[in-house]
Every structure is written in C-alpha cells, then in structure tokens.
Amino acid sequence: MRHVISILLQNESGALARVASMFATRGFNIESLNVAPTEDESVSRLTLVTEGTEAVVAQINKQLAKLIDVVAIADRTETDHIARELGIFKVAVDPAATGLFQAFMAERGAHLLDHDDEHVTVELAGSEREVDAFLVGLPPGVTLLALVRSGPLVTARGAVALT
C-alpha cells in the first residue's frame, strides 16, 4: 500500500541522507520526497511517499523514529489528511490548438507562468489526482515537453499539527 509520511527533521549535516538511507539500505523506493523549511528555522519538514506492506512500512516508521535528527513523524495514510501537489507543465502548443488549451487550463484551474513562440509553461496546484488528470487530459495538439512535480504535501485535517 502507498504511504504518505510526514517527518519533522532537525537541520543537521547529513540528516536528510540518514532518512534516505533508511529506505535505500532496505531496497525501498521513495516515490516522492519534498523537503522545505518550516516556521522553525532549525527544523525542516519532509513529505515522503513510499509503497510497501503494512508490516514493512510500520517497521520503517519505527526505525525512522530512532534517528536522532527526527523530531516527529506521522504516517498520514492512517489519518484524515489534506494532500496538495504542485505540477509545472512545459508544453508545445500547435497554433491551431491554442484556444482549446486555454479553455482546458481555465477549466482545470491552471495558471500560465511563461510562454514564447514554442513553449508554454503552466502550473496546476491540486490533488495528485488532479495533476494526473491534467497530464492525461491534455487536448490534441498539445505536446508535453517536461513535467515538474513537487510530490504531495500533506497536513492533517483540523487543528492536529506535527510538532
């Protein structure tokens, strides 16, 4: 099963490598990993997506909780949570398809970031499914050149916060 894990990590030399190594040494794949500062400058937040059986992921979570730099950890899969992702799409648009693409963007809530004669760069923030659907639903005449995804960012619903 797919697991979304939130980790608050002390900003220490090698801390991120230690988290990654927990997965690497067990032959586990990290599907996505997002690392960014938090309101506390000594702490970063990691959002990590991985896949594995319940028992193995439970064991990985326990082992992660043994890392000295890990401040807090929560497997969001188990709780009601909000997940958002940013997708940045770089596409080539046939002149004939310009109107269709603009309508598609408007319908999906995507925003134009940049364009020249050959490339259009747009962003879409939404659920993973919305980002997936945007990719699959690109209208004819629109060719994907590159996709940059943040991976999901998650937080629990309501007042519950990871501290």
Binding site: S13, A17, S21, T25, A58, Q59, I68, D69, V70, V71
Partner: protein, 628 residues
Amino acid sequence: MEPRPAMTVTTPTPAIARVAQRHPLSGTAMTGAEMVVQVLADEGVDVVFGYSGGAILPTYDAIFRYNARHRSPSGEEPMPLVVPANEQGAGFMAAGYARASGKVGVVMVTSGPGATNTVTPVRDSMADSVPLVVITGQVPTSAIGTDAFQEAPVSAVMGPGVAKHVFLVTEPRRLEATMRTAFEIARTGRPGPVVVDIPKDVQNWEGVFAGRGRLPITGYRRRLETVGRNRLDEEKAREFFGILARSRRPLIYAGGGVINAGAADALREFAAAFRIPAVTTLMGIGAMDTTGPLSIGMLGMHGAASSNYAVEDCDFLIAVGSRFDDRVAGVPDRFARKAHRIAHFDVDPSEIDKVKRVDWHHVGDLSQALGRLTVYGREHGFSGEFSAWLGEIEELAGTYGFNYDRESPLIQPQEVVEAINRLTSGEAIISTGVGQHQMWAAQYFDFRSPRLWLTSGSMGTMGFGLPAAIGAQFAHPDRLVIDFDGDGSIRMNIGELETVTTYALPLKVLVLNNFGDGMVKQWQKLFFKGRLSASDKSLHKKDFVKTAEADGFRWARQLSRKSEIEQTIQEFVRYEGPAFLEVIIDPDAGVYPMVGPGQAYEDMITGDFIPSRDEPDPASEPDTSGMF
C-alpha cells in the same frame, strides 16, 4: 592575543552534581581540541583507545598536555592513551571496556584509514547495543570533498545501521555541546556507538569554553522521556498475572537488553519470586546466574537441547530484552509453537512485533517493570502451579544437557573449558572470537554475574576476542580476564598480542587450534558435502607460541596431550603476568546441538553424544541457497 589561563581543575564532578554547579572552567579560552579533552574528563573518561595521525594531532597533543598537567602524585595519567596495532583493535578495546564496565568506551583516531578501520567495531557495537564515543579527525573543512590526503566521508560511512549517530562538526562553536551530546546519545535509551567527526581546523579553533550546554535533539529526548515515563502500571501487571495464572509452563527468554539495562538483579528476583525458569540468549548470558536453579542455559542455534525443548514445551514465553533474532527463532512461525501467549519487555519500541507478534508488551525500563511485577505478584499472593513444569525441566536438563566425546584420545575443546571453569567458578571475564570456540565457551563456562561474558553476538566479528579482553582488563585491572579464542579468529587481530605486553596486562590468551575455520568447516561438512573451500589451515606454517614469545609473552606454551590439561591450565590461569596458551584440539570436534539455519527446533541435530527427543526429519534438510 590575551594569554589563556591554564586548565587547572582535575576532578571530574559527578554528573548529577554538575547540573546545578557552574563549571570551574566556564569562560576559559581553549582550543577545540582542549574542549574535546575537557568534556572527556567531565564525562569521567579514564582511558582512551586510539591511534594518532595527521588530522587528529591537535587533540592527541591536548590529551598529552592534559595528562602531563594532571598526573597523580604516584605519576599516573588520568586519561592514558592506549595504542593498538590497528584502529580496529582500538574500537574493540573500547567495546570490551564498555561491555565489561557498563561505561562509555572512547576511541580516538585520525581521518581516512584511521576512521574507516573503526567501521567494523562501530557496527559491531551498534548490533550488540554497546555505548561508544568514537572521535575521528577529519581533513580541514576547506578540504572536505576534495579527495584530500587521508580523507574519507565518515558521516556517510557511519550512517544509520552502522553508528547510532554521527556528527560532522563544521561549526566550531557547537563542538563542546556536540561532544556532551555524543555521550548522552551513546549511553541513553538503547545504548550504541556515536561518532564525532572533527575537522582539523575545528580542533585548532580557539574559543571560550562554556562548561555547559548540549545540542537540542528534541525529538530523541522526547521519545526517551516517553519510554522513561512509561512505567508498568497496576492494569498491565494485572493483565500479566492473568496470563501467568492460566499458564502451567511459563518460560523466561532473557536477552542482552537485561544486561544493558542493569536489570539482572530485578530479573533474578522476579524469576525466584514466582519460580519461573529462564533460558538466555548468547547476549543474555550472565543475566541469570548460570549455576542457579532456575537458569537452564542458552537457547538457539547452538543452545542446550534441554533449553530448546523447554522453549518447544512452554505455554507462556516471557521475552525480556531479547529480540527473536534469527539465531534464536530461525523460523518465527514455528518458534515456541505451544506458547498460547507471548509477553515482550523491551526499551526499544521498534523491537515489538518486529519478528513475532506478541500478546502483551511493555516498552520501558526493564528494572522498573520487573520490579513492579514482583511487588504486584507478592502483594496479591500470586502462586503459580509450576512444580510439575520445573520437574519436567529438571528431567530435560538431566537427559539432554551438553555432552561430548569424553573417551577420545584427542583433546576435546569442551574439556578445556571445563578445566578452566573449575578454577574460575564463573567469576572470570571471558571474551571470545567468533566460531566454534565461541559456542563451546558459551555452552560450558559458568557466569555468576552480568558483564563477564564478552562476545560479538549479532555481528559475529572474528578478531573481537583479543582487543575486547584488553579493553576489559583496563576496566577491571585486578580481575582475571581470559581471551578464549580460536586459531582463525585470533589471526584477525593478532597484532594486539604486542599491546598486551606493552601495557603489562596480566591477560590470559588461550587459542584453541583446530587448524582452520572450524565453524565454516562444520557447515561445509553438513551442508556442502564436505568440500572444505578455503577453510583448512592444516598446512599453514604459523607457530603461535613463537608469535606470542616474539611479542613479549614470557609464559607461552602449547598443550597437546590430554594428560597435561589440568596441570597446564592451572599454571596458565595462575601465572601472574600475560600468558599465552595454544591448545591443539580434535580438529573434527563439532558444536552440538545445532538447529540448522532456517530450521525449527524440532529439526535440531544433537550429534553423537547428546540424545535427541525427536527423530530429525531427513526430508527437512535446509535449503542451502537461502541460509546464512
């Protein structure tokens, strides 16, 4: 530049008193190297094992100056440096010191090869939960990552699973706090090795010693507090005794955690209070007094047949500081199959349900938990109906205990252990290498107390025995310490024989020589149709006695006649200085019983001299492709 006041204070204050008190050197200007040494002194370090080199020179110099300044009236250094032949030796000396004393062992080595040579003892200490602080010099911060001379990426090499934690100190202002935090991490929770990698410029930096302060490892401390607060309460105790009351065949399965937690007394009292018999793991040897009535010996791959049968027969298994390791529970589903209930006590939450699902568990301090149970049971007048079970156990021990070929004209390894054991009566410190000799020692030596049995259990590092014994002798200068080694294992760190005589340690080194890697040969005979691939050393030219003599052993002998065992062993053990004894043993002696890798206890083979309760199923030969 202002002149720096000399460091004058010598006595390390006890940790508790230190909290409120201002450090007498607080506000003093010091180099990073001097701060490292001062924190070592504050932490009560009385010996440092290590080898010098370019990137650690400033700190070696600081120790030299510290020792010169703080010499005792009789000329003794407060923090002697013990120099091994190889840094791996220093690591295992520190580990032997830590295992025998319960204190943090300290290693100090240079960058690059100095640091990488300590990887094996660091991983070994991680796997057996031994507290170490390993200080490694590093190339200057400006040179890191340039493939500088003697550079190695220590913080990567010592990652998770190797060290409990590794610090790379890039900000000199945090050095002092980092050193203190390293000791805190090493000794708290499940103990382990902590590496502090210190670039040379950080050692040479000059700053002001604060005399206090640690790093904010908030998550770690909070998790420790949670485990610390988790005291076994009334409800948990009631549940436990509910299970125990329904049990007729309870069995304690005690591991190294009992020893690390200092919970051997609490365990012995608990077992005695309710008359529950106990088996121990290899790492748990000494948790129970092996000569006591409720101690029924080691379980597992080479455990006593009687102990393993007791595991097979028990209906309630009580795991205390043990972790269902593959050498104990090779097939977890078939381990203790008749146990209706399993209880598990540990300090590490990740061990619960890791291998085998348990019905009742408690994560917390073992002494508190066992002590609470003892009090609860006594208050409630608990009395189990275990007499029949204890009778069965006694019968098992009488029939299926250890035995060997007592009639052979060749010296049997087990009789060598028995001869030493008659003289030492379970009070000597015994270290071992890894292999057959290690198992014979585990099977036949008595241990009345914890921290006498020093062995590389989880990692199984050949070469552990000699340096670990050296470290243990530094921890206990007046105790009898014996390295009970094998010819294969001792070769790995044989350079440390010189260290024994250099420091005039009264250590006893015994090598069982069966001319090869005995355990490997045993597996090759059992599982590889006797093809002795690269394990036979019968044509080697090695002369062990001359080797010991060359390294300064005045008492170095070979024992090859059965009739001389008693006399020679007596002289060896009672010799006042360092002594070396090579014993030529039956090269075909095997370690029995044996539960093959990936096999269950009912498939145990007991050899020719121990009866077997079950006929081993010939069809259940282990699958050699998956075994390890």
